[in-house]
Every structure is written in structure tokens, then in C-alpha cells.
């Protein structure tokens, strides 16, 4: 492919159809229509419109990127590919017309909307830019025109001089981000500047046009003068000693910022931060099992559940209560129970490897959830009715009844977990884990006691999970078995792999992206899961090593790529067959 450039018409057609395909997919899946009333800027621009044009933008961008050496050709081609990308949408309009709205034309006997629920009159209305079926020709013309324009805009990202395109991209991106996260931004604005300021920036959920212009301008300027690269070059110019000192100061400042954060961002965002912190704590534990010891655990939620139920039963004031402890006294028991169950569940799987381990641990997670739910054990732990009346932690008379307080508990727990993780990684045990991760047989031959090493990994990992479960139960006040589903295990695993396996900053970034962001995008309801899935795929395709991978691991991966690295998906040559 590289030696022979593709003919121009093929580029136009390919990117046009790809872009139009994306747009048509978003229409069919319902995103365009669902957000056609969700305004981003005043009453001009809706999120649905943005989604519709995203695909077309991509068409122009792809075309222009491949032809960027010849700007005139690129501009013309992207214009054409924009027209091409409107074809799938036009097809959608006609299909909707013939099989849903006007079946009499072809005598269609099946209403296609029974199948594709989103082939609605509203969709036609949106696609024809408000013209509807009555002015179909005009509507389609407008759609083609819009596609061509948007495709040009996409091409502009590539073709404009670098500064301009950076400014443009950063301007558009910031307006869109603030528009989409208007909910979150307004929470912060409310805390910092009061209700009055919200009315200046937002009208309902949308940015006011003035605010949008200002944000665009600021972002454009920062992009245009590429402020962050300037800061970076400055930073690199500073001598090492000062760098580390400044870094220290920055770190302290960041820590101080972390401490006041819940009071800056308000109740709801504190709750989101709490959830993120909880996942950080939990994922640090899973990181030991998966990232360090290389044991693929898909049932980590089991330990989370053990922690939560231990906390629940030990502290609840309800009829299931045993012990009547308070939060702080129950925490050690949570950890203890986590360790014990880590050992118990780790034991039967000592002999299993790889995917066998994965399915068995997944099974454990399900077994624990089902047992928690069962009528059989209900007299002890509540069954379907869960454990209610778990009191809030009480610290020196302050009752931790809001996420703003519990946030500090997870920060403390997260710090402890991070500290333990770092110390363990540097220890003899940590090196044993990593040796085991690389090759169990060699590790055993080197005199590592696999049984002990594996069980310790399970137990320590489980204790973090149980700790997180205990804190979670105390925040929630009541726990139900349904909460402990497979999704938590999957999410935790995704966090550490997206973040970069084995890396602590990676876990934090991963949790922010995969746990925090879905919390903030609650208005997307079901579509959150769709986006979550797309995000997982794209991130792994773009950065298979994760966002912030461990340095050694990154080195390993990259040396592997350069040299005669044996791909993992292949069987090693000369294995014992």
C-alpha cells in the first residue's frame, strides 16, 4: 500500500463512505435524535447536530490527510468526499420514507420502524434540516451542502497552517467539552462563584452564545500560541535540581488542592470523586494480582462484596447486626476477612493458569453474588433485602454523612494502598511476583515458592478490595447483593489495563477516565455503555500499553517490538510438543 499511492477517487470514496457510515450508524443507534433537543450553545447548536456532523468531519479529515501535499487537490477532494458521505444519510431518508412514512409509494407491507426504532419522522426532519418530506428535494440539497461544508471544516484541521488549525481545534474542542459537561461545570461554578454566575454562562444546560464566543476565543488563543508547548520547553530548560524542587512544590500544591477539592466542587462531584477514589483503592489491589503477579482475576468483586458485607453486618443497627462495632473498629475486620477469603479462594486455583484461572475467578465472583442473594443465607446477611442501617463513620464527633467527608477516607485509604503497593513492588516479594508473571516455571526453578507467592498476591490484593468494599458500604448506608455484579470486576480490570498495567499513576488516570467520566455523563443514560465500549476499543487500539504504563513495562514492550520479540498470541517455537 505504501509503495503505490491510492488513486484519488478511491480515497474520496473510502473516506466519504466511512464518514457517512459513522453518521448513519449514529442516526440508526438513536444518538442523533436522542440529543436533538439537547442544546450546546444557546438555541443554535444541539448535541445531536454535532454527532451528525462528526462522521462527515472525519471524512473530510481523512481525505485531506492523505492528500495534504497538494492543498488544492485536497480541498476539492474533501469537498467531494463530504458529498459522498451524505449518501448514506440520503439513503436513510429514502428508506424511512418508503418503508415507514409513505409505505403506499412502493406498497411496502412491513413498517420498518418496528425493527429499526429510530427510523422516525423526527429523524427525517433532522436529516433534511427541518424541511421534512414536503420539501424533500430542498432538504436533501441542504444536507449535501452541509456535508460538503463540514467536510471542508474537517479538511481545514489538516490543511490550515499549523497554528491556525491548532487554535481552531482547541477552540472547538473546549466549547464542545464545556457544553457537554455543562452540568459538571455549573456545579463547580455554583460553588466558586454562586448561582448568579451560572446564569451568565449557561442558559438551561447550554452555553450562552456570549460565553461560547469567549471560551472559543480563549481556547483559540492558547492553541494558536501553543501555550502548553511553550511551558513545556521552558520547563525542559530548567536545570535538573530546580526541576525536582519545583516538582516537589507542585506535588505539594496538588496535594493541598486534593484536600480542599470536595469543598470546591460540591456534593455531587464529591460523590463522583469518592467513587473514583474507591476504584483507585480497589484497582491498586487488583493491580497486585494482575499487574504484578500476572494472575488474571475476573472475580475481584467477590472481595469487594466480602468487605461490604463484613462492614454491614458488624456495624448495622438493624436486626442482622453482629458485634455492633463502629466504622473504624470494623475496618480491620474487613481487611482480615479479605485476606482470609483471598487465601480460601486462591487455594483451589493454585494449579490453574491463564484463561482457566480467569473463568474460575469469574465464577467465584458470581458464586459470591448469588450466595449473597440467596434465600439460603438470607437469615445471616439479608438475602435480597440486603443489609440496611449501616451507620456513617463518626470521627471525633463529626459524622461522615456526606461524600465530602467520605472523600477523605478514600484519599487516606488510597494513599495507604499506594504506599503499600510501592513498598511491595520494591521488596523481595514484589520481585518474586514479577518473576512469576514473566514465567512461572522459570520462577519456580529459581527457587521461588509459587504457592506462597501466589497466595500472598491473592490475599494482599483481596485485602484492598475488601477495604474498598467496607468504605463503600459505610457510605451507602445499605447494601444489596445486586450491586456486586460482574461489571465491577470488568471495570476494575479495564481501569488497570487502560491506565497501564502495574503503574500507580496509571490506575488513577484509568479510574478518572473509566469511572469518573461515566458518572459525569449520566445524562447519556444507556448510551454511556456504548461510549464506554467504544472508548475501551479506541484506547487499546491507540495505546495498547495503557495511558501511563510502568517504565520497565514500556521498555519491555518497545524493545520487544524492535527486535525479534515473540508475539504473545503465538505459541513459542520449540515448546514441548
Amino acid at each position: 500500500m505504501e509503495e503505490k499511492p491510492r488513486p484519488t477517487w478511491q480515497i474520496i470514496l473510502r473516506s466519504g463512505i466511512l464518514g457517512g457510515g459513522i453518521a448513519a450508524y449514529l442516526c440508526l443507534v438513536g444518538l442523533v435524535e436522542a440529543f436533538s433537543e439537547r442544546f450546546l450553545i444557546g438555541s443554535f447548536l444541539t448535541l445531536g447536530e454535532v454527532m451528525l456532523v462528526t462522521g462527515i468531519l472525519i471524512a473530510g479529515l481523512l481525505t485531506a490527510r492523505e492528500l495534504k501535499d497538494n492543498k488544492i487537490l485536497a480541498t476539492g477532494s474533501s469537498l467531494l468526499s463530504g458529498v459522498v458521505s451524505s449518501l448514506p444519510l440520503i439513503l436513510l431518508i429514502f428508506i424511512t420514507m418508503l418503508f415507514v412514512l409513505r409505505p403506499e409509494i412502493l406498497g411496502a407491507t412491513y413498517n420498518l420502524r418496528d425493527m429499526f426504532v429510530n427510523l422516525s419522522p423526527e429523524l427525517v426532519e433532522i436529516l433534511t434540516l427541518g424541511q421534512g418530506l414536503d420539501n424533500l428535494a430542498l432538504g436533501i440539497l441542504l444536507l449535501i451542502l452541509l456535508s460538503a461544508l463540514m467536510s471542508l471544516l474537517g479538511a481545514a484541521f489538516v490543511l490550515l497552517p499549523r497554528r491556525w488549525s491548532l487554535g481552531l481545534i482547541s477552540g472547538i474542542a473546549w466549547v464542545l467539552v464545556i457544553g457537554i459537561f455543562s452540568d459538571t461545570v455549573s456545579q463547580i461554578v455554583r460553588q466558586v462563584a454562586g448561582q448568579g454566575m451560572i446564569r451568565v454562562i449557561f442558559v438551561n444546560e447550554a452555553l450562552t452564545p456570549q460565553a461560547a464566543v469567549i471560551i472559543f476565543a480563549i481556547a483559540f488563543v492558547t492553541g494558536f500560541f501553543s501555550v502548553h508547548t511553550r511551558i513545556q520547553t521552558r520547563w525542559e530548560g530548567i536545570p535538573q535540581t530546580q526541576q525536582s524542587r519545583t516538582r516537589m512544590i507542585l506535588l505539594l500544591a496538588a496535594f493541598g488542592f486534593l484536600l480542599v477539592l470536595p469543598w470546591v466542587v460540591g456534593l455531587f462531584l464529591s460523590q463522583a470523586l469518592f467513587t473514583v477514589g474507591l476504584f483507585v483503592m480497589m484497582c491498586l489491589g487488583l493491580n497486585i494480582v494482575v499487574g504484578y503477579a500476572g494472575l488474571l482475576d475476573l472475580g475481584y468483586v467477590a472481595f469487594f462484596a466480602f468487605g461490604a458485607y463484613t462492614m454491614g453486618i458488624l456495624t448495622t443497627t438493624g436486626s442482622l447486626g453482629r458485634g455492633g462495632l463502629n466504622f473504624w473498629m470494623a475496618i480491620p475486620f474487613c481487611i482480615l476477612v479479605g485476606v482470609v477469603w483471598g487465601l480460601i479462594l486462591g487455594f483451589p486455583v493454585l494449579r490453574l493458569r491463564g484463561d482457566y484461572l480467569a473463568i474460575v475467578t469469574l465464577g467465584f465472583g458470581e458464586i459470591i453474588r448469588i450466595l449473597a442473594l440467596s434465600d439460603w443465607l438470607a437469615p445471616f446477611e439479608g438475602g435480597a433485602q440486603g443489609v440496611l442501617h449501616i451507620p456513617y463513620p463518626n470521627f471525633l464527633g463529626i459524622i461522615f454523612d456526606s461524600p465530602q467527608y467520605m472523600y477523605y477516607v478514600v484519599i487516606a485509604g488510597g494513599l495507604i494502598a499506594a504506599f503499600v503497593t510501592i513498598r511491595l513492588r520494591e521488596s523481595r516479594l514484589g520481585r518474586q511476583w514479577m518473576a512469576m508473571r514473566e514465567d512461572e516455571d522459570v520462577a519456580e526453578a529459581m527457587g521461588i515458592n509459587l504457592v506462597q507467592t501466589k497466595l500472598l498476591a491473592f490475599a494482599i490484593g483481596a485485602s484492598f478490595g475488601a477495604l474498598a468494599g467496607g468504605v463503600w458500604a459505610a457510605r451507602l448506608g445499605n447494601i444489596f447483593p445486586h450491586s456486586f455484579n460482574l461489571l465491577i470486576s470488568i471495570n476494575a480490570l479495564a481501569v488497570i489495563i487502560i491506565g497501564g498495567m502495574g503503574s500507580i499513576p496509571g490506575v488513577i488516570i484509568g479510574a478518572l477516565v473509566l469511572v469518573g467520566m461515566p458518572e459525569l455523563l449520566r445524562e447519556f443514560t444507556e448510551y454511556r455503555y456504548l461510549m464506554y465500549g467504544i472508548l475501551l476499543i479506541i484506547m487499546m487500539l491507540v495505546r495498547p500499553e495503557g495511558l501511563l504504563p510502568e517504565a520497565t513495562r514500556r521498555r519491555e514492550l518497545h524493545t520487544g517490538e524492535d527486535e525479534n520479540f515473540e508475539p504473545v498470541s503465538q505459541q513459542p517455537v520449540g515448546s514441548d510438543r
Partner: protein, 443 residues
């Protein structure tokens, strides 16, 4: 030197960031410190003509502020039909007032509380963090409400539920499992009502003497079948089997075989789709269930249920909310005009009544002073809702005073149990898609 300046500069920037961050925290601290008691709304200044003396504070509406209400419902997930049902009713109630209240626009925010404890709590913090919100409609699922209760109550909000049926939500005695907190009101019936109706119907009307129940591990189904079984035993019946399936199960033959071992007269399974249709369809394959009458509950009162269950559903019964009368027909007409068709579930009438009760209460307690600022006392609002009695709603008579169920005193239960019925599924529903089915029994 240049670099030194830069280092100092960056330090300064961060220091100022922290200051900025701290400043609002410091000033707002008094309002935030004990969120349990302190009102989120700011106290009106003393020199104002109106002094807010409400125990948990007032919401202050500047002259051009909208009246802001919210809902926390199940908009996504397997039970999203409940949320759609309620949201539609709320929107109709808003339309009925022309979108205005107290001469202001009504602003309506819809939050997704999912059908889980953590979803309920997150939605609750979201609603509680907006001090402009006056009242809330929610939640659909009892588990979500249990977790949301504390946050909502301590934020001073009033919440009216269209479809929580767990009895414990309105009991304030923790020893009885009660989780009630002030500010919670329930417009729909508790399981005490529905379970009793189902038990009486099975025993008295169907003449059943033996009963089996199946739940799906949801708190709702578990409690409902328990109340039903208890009522059935009180009447003198015998419960032969109380089993359970899991959400996601598709093969019900094993559990049905267990039921069939005693060939009970009736089988009560207050569960949801798709597990419900599986039970109905597969029951015909099991020897010993030929004479067992199937009874479902409101979770299966969905228009797709009869068709999905197939011919076996003919002759089975569903207990659930049953609303009738001219006002309800009018409501259905509005629904049809706005959304087309009929509501997807059976709780819309409660959502509609709840919204209207909330609006009436806001109107009743709102005080507007000379400069056009309106104050709504949060405790006064709760009291006004609590004082609702003899309200003639679409769902029948609504009365929010304390009620007695056997040994339990319930607070904030507004339903009088009128709006319940037993539906019979016939060929018309299964073959011709008729919906809703005929009601053959009311208490």
C-alpha cells in the same frame, strides 16, 4: 535567572489556585458543615421584608427564576419502562399547568437513579447539590430509594415516589427494618396493600388453598411474595413452596418442577420480563402444573407480556395498580396526544398525582414579598404535602396521613389502596394485542 523567575511564577500561580480554591470553601463552610440540618439555600438577609423562619430553610426565587423540580427515575436499564412511564406523567402534569407555576416557568430536571442502591445515592447527591430544586419525584425502585433517603431528607427536600412498593420505606422503626426519613412520601400502594389483595384474591375468589411463590431476588419481588404468602396463610391457606430464580435465567423448568411436586392451586410470581414469560410459557411442559393458576404482579403489567408469553398466558392473572374513572380517561387521552399509544407501565397515575400534589403544596406555601422574590419553606412544603387528605387524584383518593398496618405504623404513605385490581389475561391480549386487560376483581 530567567528560570528562577519562572519557578517562582509557577509557584505563585499554584498558590493563587489554592487560595481561589480555599476561599469559597471558607465562606461556604458554615452552609456546608452540618448538611444534616443546615439548609442549602441561603438565608434571606435580615433587612428583607420577609423573614424565613422555616425549620430547615427556604428556597428563594428571584423574580425571574423558574420553579425547579427534579425527578430521580429509572431511565436506563432493564426496568427503564418504569421511568418512561413516570417521566411521561410528570411532563403531562407540567403541561397541564401550561408549564408555569407561581407565575414562573417550571424547570424540570430528570436524573437517572437506575434501579440500584448506588444509582439512587448518586442521583440523590446530584439533586441535593442543586439548592434551587424544590421537590423531587422518585424513585422507581425501592433499593434506590433506600440509599437515596438520607441524602434527600437531610438536604431538606421532599420526594414523592410513584412506584416504590417496599413496606420498609415508610416504617420509621429500625427494628422493623424501617428506613423512613422525613420528606419521603409514597403515592403508590405499599406491598402491604398489593400482597394482601393478591392473597385475598387467590384464597377467596379463586378458592385456592395451596400456594407456591417464586421471586427473582429483587427486594421488591421478595417482599411482595412474602406479604402475599403471609396473607394467604392468615386466611387459612397453605404455602407449599417459596422458590426463587435469578435475573437472566431462561430455563425455568427446574424450578417449575419443584413447584409441581406439590401441585399447588396457585403460583404467584411477582417478577419482571423476560423471566416472567419464561415461567408462563414453560409451565405447560411440566407435569403437575395443569391445574395451577398463574398469578403475576405489576412488574409484568407491560403490554408486551401477553404476546411474549404465548397461549399459556390465557387465563392467568396479574395484580397491579388499577385506575379508572373519567379523570383517568382524560389523562390517557393526553398521553396519547403527546406520546402516542398507552403508557408503558402502570404507575403513571401515581407520578401524575404526585407531581400535582407537589405543585399544589408549592403554591400553598409560597410567599412572595414586595420586590417579587418568592420564598418556599422546605419544612412548610413537607407539612403541606403531609396534610394532603381527601385529594381526589387520578389514582383515586390520596391521603398522606399516618397509617396502621397490623402492628406497623407507616409514615408518608399516601395511597389508600383503592387503586388496585386484578387483571385477567385473555385471548384478546395474547392474540390481538389488546391492552390493558380487563379488571375482574377490586378489593
Amino acid at each position: 535567572m530567567n528560570k528562577k523567575v519562572f519557578a517562582i511564577l509557577s509557584l505563585l500561580i499554584f498558590a493563587s489556585m489554592i487560595l481561589v480554591a480555599c476561599a469559597p470553601a471558607a465562606t461556604e463552610a458554615p452552609a456546608e458543615e452540618p448538611p444534616a440540618e443546615e439548609p442549602p439555600a441561603e438565608e434571606p438577609p435580615a433587612e428583607e421584608a420577609f423573614e424565613c423562619d422555616d425549620a430547615i430553610g427556604c428556597v428563594e426565587l428571584a423574580p425571574d427564576d423558574p420553579v425547579h423540580i427534579a425527578s430521580m427515575l429509572t431511565i436506563s436499564g432493564a426496568t427503564s419502562f418504569l421511568g418512561e412511564d413516570s417521566v411521561g406523567a410528570i411532563e403531562i402534569a407540567i403541561d397541564d399547568r401550561g408549564g408555569t407555576l407561581l407565575g414562573r416557568d417550571i424547570q424540570y430536571t430528570s436524573e437517572d437513579s437506575l434501579c440500584s442502591a448506588e444509582g439512587g445515592q448518586t442521583a440523590a447527591t446530584k439533586v441535593a447539590s442543586d439548592p434551587t430544586i424544590l421537590g423531587v419525584i422518585g424513585t422507581n425502585c425501592s433499593a434506590a430509594m433506600t440509599a437515596a433517603m438520607d441524602t434527600i431528607s437531610s438536604a431538606g427536600l421532599s420526594i414523592l415516589s410513584p412506584s416504590n412498593t417496599a413496606p420498609t420505606l415508610t416504617l420509621d422503626d429500625p427494628a422493623a427494618g424501617g428506613t423512613f426519613k422525613p420528606g419521603y412520601f409514597r403515592i403508590c400502594h405499599t406491598d402491604f396493600f398489593q400482597g394482601a389483595v393478591a392473597g385475598e384474591f387467590a384464597y377467596n375468589e379463586l378458592g385456592a388453598r395451596t400456594l407456591a411463590t417464586i421471586h427473582d431476588g429483587s427486594p421488591y419481588a421478595d417482599q411482595l411474595q412474602e406479604v402475599m404468602a403471609n396473607r394467604f396463610m392468615e386466611l387459612g391457606g397453605e404455602v407449599t413452596f417459596q422458590g426463587a430464580v435469578n435475573v437472566g435465567d431462561t430455563d425455568m423448568r427446574a424450578v417449575l418442577t419443584s413447584v409441581a411436586a406439590d401441585s399447588p392451586d396457585a403460583l404467584y410470581f411477582p417478577i419482571f420480563e423476560p423471566e416472567g414469560p419464561f415461567i408462563v410459557a414453560q409451565s405447560s411442559e411440566i407435569a403437575g402444573l395443569e391445574n395451577t393458576i398463574l398469578i403475576g404482579a405489576d412488574g409484568l403489567l407491560v403490554d408486551s407480556f401477553p404476546e411474549n408469553s404465548g397461549p399459556n398466558a390465557v387465563g392467568m392473572y396479574l395484580t397491579g395498580p388499577f385506575v379508572t374513572g373519567a379523570a383517568y380517561d382524560e389523562f390517557l387521552a393526553k398521553w396519547d396526544a403527546k406520546f402516542g399509544g398507552v403508557p408503558p407501565s402502570g404507575f403513571h397515575a401515581f407520578a401524575y398525582d404526585g407531581t400535582n400534589i407537589l405543585f399544589d403544596a408549592i403554591e400553598a406555601v409560597a410567599v412572595t414579598d414586595a420586590d417579587g422574590t418568592t420564598y418556599v419553606g422546605r419544612q412548610a412544603l413537607r407539612d403541606a404535602i403531609k396534610a394532603t387528605a381527601d385529594y381526589d387524584g387520578v389514582s383515586g383518593k390520596v391521603d398522606c396521613s399516618d397509617k396502621q398496618f397490623g402492628e406497623f405504623t407507616s409514615k408518608g404513605d399516601c395511597a389508600t389502596g383503592e387503586a388496585l385490581g386484578v387483571f385477567e389475561i385473555t385471548e384478546a391480549e395474547v392474540d390481538d394485542g389488546n391492552w390493558p386487560p380487563e379488571v375482574i376483581y377490586t378489593p
